[in-house]
Amino acid sequence: MTDRNMALAQLEPGEDAIIEFNDVNKWYGDFHVLKNINFSIKKGERIVVCGPSGSGKSTMTRCINRLEEHQKGSIIVDGIEMNDNLKNIEAIRKDVGMVFQHFNLFPHLTILENLTLAPIWVRKMPKKEAEEMAMHYLERVKIANQAMKFPGQLSGGQQQRVAIARGLCMKPRIMLFDEPTSALDPEMIKEVLDVMVQLADEGMTMVCVTHEMGFAKTVADRVVFMDAGEIVEANEPSEFFDNPQHDRTQLFLSQILNH
């Protein structure tokens, strides 16, 4: 463990952690994509992960619900260690919602069916109850009037709001966002961020990979900066933006804030 990672781990004691990374390493073939990740996230914490492309930020996030497998170290989510045990993985995935860059709605199902699929089949909820709940969340993301349409008939911003509602329908304890606004037109970014801010205000544990620094400033409890597979710096937004410790962080911030 490097000194820097040691410091990061000490930043948050592991006791009330809901997500814990201990010495996590991952390779794609020969490429070392995650290097000694030590990090823990408390219940209710809002984490924004940023960094240049290829820095491993998406990979790290996707390790939390095991869309990616790590090869060394341990990841403990909600008290369960993520390993090859399929039952454990499925149990964690029920409680961890995920929103993708490209929405990944199911194009052959209506909006309502997209939302009720997992509650009905994974949570074994009666169809009527699932539909009522789905309509409730669609109203929250202000899109209830589109329930009977297909994803292909909605704009990108609307699709991403549906994707968030779909994640919420499983009543998750953690929400993961993997660059949720990167594929959107500028006019639609705000409508998605508004929903995410609202969610953050309600105390949802969130891990959000994003380049929206405005969102990071207003919402995040901590901002994590990654480069070349390592966590370079993790700090409260005020410290992170006004007083970055590492020159790599300073360079990154100067490039994305002053363009």
Binding site: N65, L67, E90, A91, R93, K94, V96, G97, M98, F100, H102, F103, N104, L105, F106, P107, H108, L117, A118, W121, V122, F150, P151, G152, Q153, R166, M170
Partner: protein, 366 residues
Amino acid sequence: MAIEFKPSPSLPPPVNSVGAVAWVRQNLLSSPLNIFLTLFSFYILYLLVPPVVEWGLVNATWEGASKADCAPGGACWAFIGARFDQFMYGLYPPEETWRINLATILLVVMIGAFAVKAVHKFYLSIAIIVVYPIIAYILFAGGVFGLEAVETSLWGGLFLTMLLGIIGIVASFPLGVLLALGRRSNMPIAKSVCVVFIETIRAVPLITILFMASVMIPLFLPEGMNFNKLLRVLIGITLFSAAYMAEVIRGGLQAIPKGQYEAADAMGLTYWQSMVLVILPQALKLVIPGIVNTFIGLFKDTTLVYIVGMFDFLGIIQLANHDANWLGTTVEGYAFAGFIYWAICFGMSRYSMAIERKLETGHKRN
């Protein structure tokens, strides 16, 4: 002060870009080459259509007891009329053919019931897939409930063709899905079994498989143990078609973006749930043209059963051509066979296009 933005009104398209005249100009006469091709096509039609109509309709003979009754220079459709029952049922005893008709009507009625709103589609599907085959088998084979037993060696004609085609299609499709999933599986044993099966079957001609099924397998079976040749042939056709089907479906599975698999996984759906609910509905829809292609190929391949001594629709027509009373009616026989095969295959093709339109949800990518 800001200027208010008002979108300009939409205008109708120019008159010469719509209507019949515009269609003719755009599609038939748009360039010198197209004008030439249009005229040339009309000339070919002029050469072909009148003689065919004259032979097939104007000079044709519709009734008669032998070739001698037919007028020269015209089609002898009397041949088809005289042998029609045999073409439909093969050597099935004529006084028992009502059983085939009844089973056919029953199938049509059951499929037609899908259009009735009050009918529960799930139970109807179960009835068609599970109950109907039992009823149909009892009707066809007989031997119980006072029905006279009819050997499968007597089954033939269009009845046999439809039987082989429908059972082949219905059985090879789910098998093909399983093989395609198996070939993409992470489990090494399941994967190898599927790969070996698919690659072996695809590398062998259907004729070989039919020959194996009818001649070779009985040699290897222990003395006294023998099962029906029709059943063996059916299994051969089904396995052959399933291997092709598997590759078509695998193409569809590969075309589904990785994000769909990930979204299904991230929700906590199990492997089978995510396949049945998310991946397969999309993958199968994508490859409907390929699936129907395989169905049509299978349907026409059933004619190869003549190699093992079964008289399907085409086989029985060829047999009838050798009848001394009807020598010289080969063209009429093949024309009739061609028309029936065309009608059935074209029907499948149009039906599949209707399904594609019905399943269209306005999503072209992602």
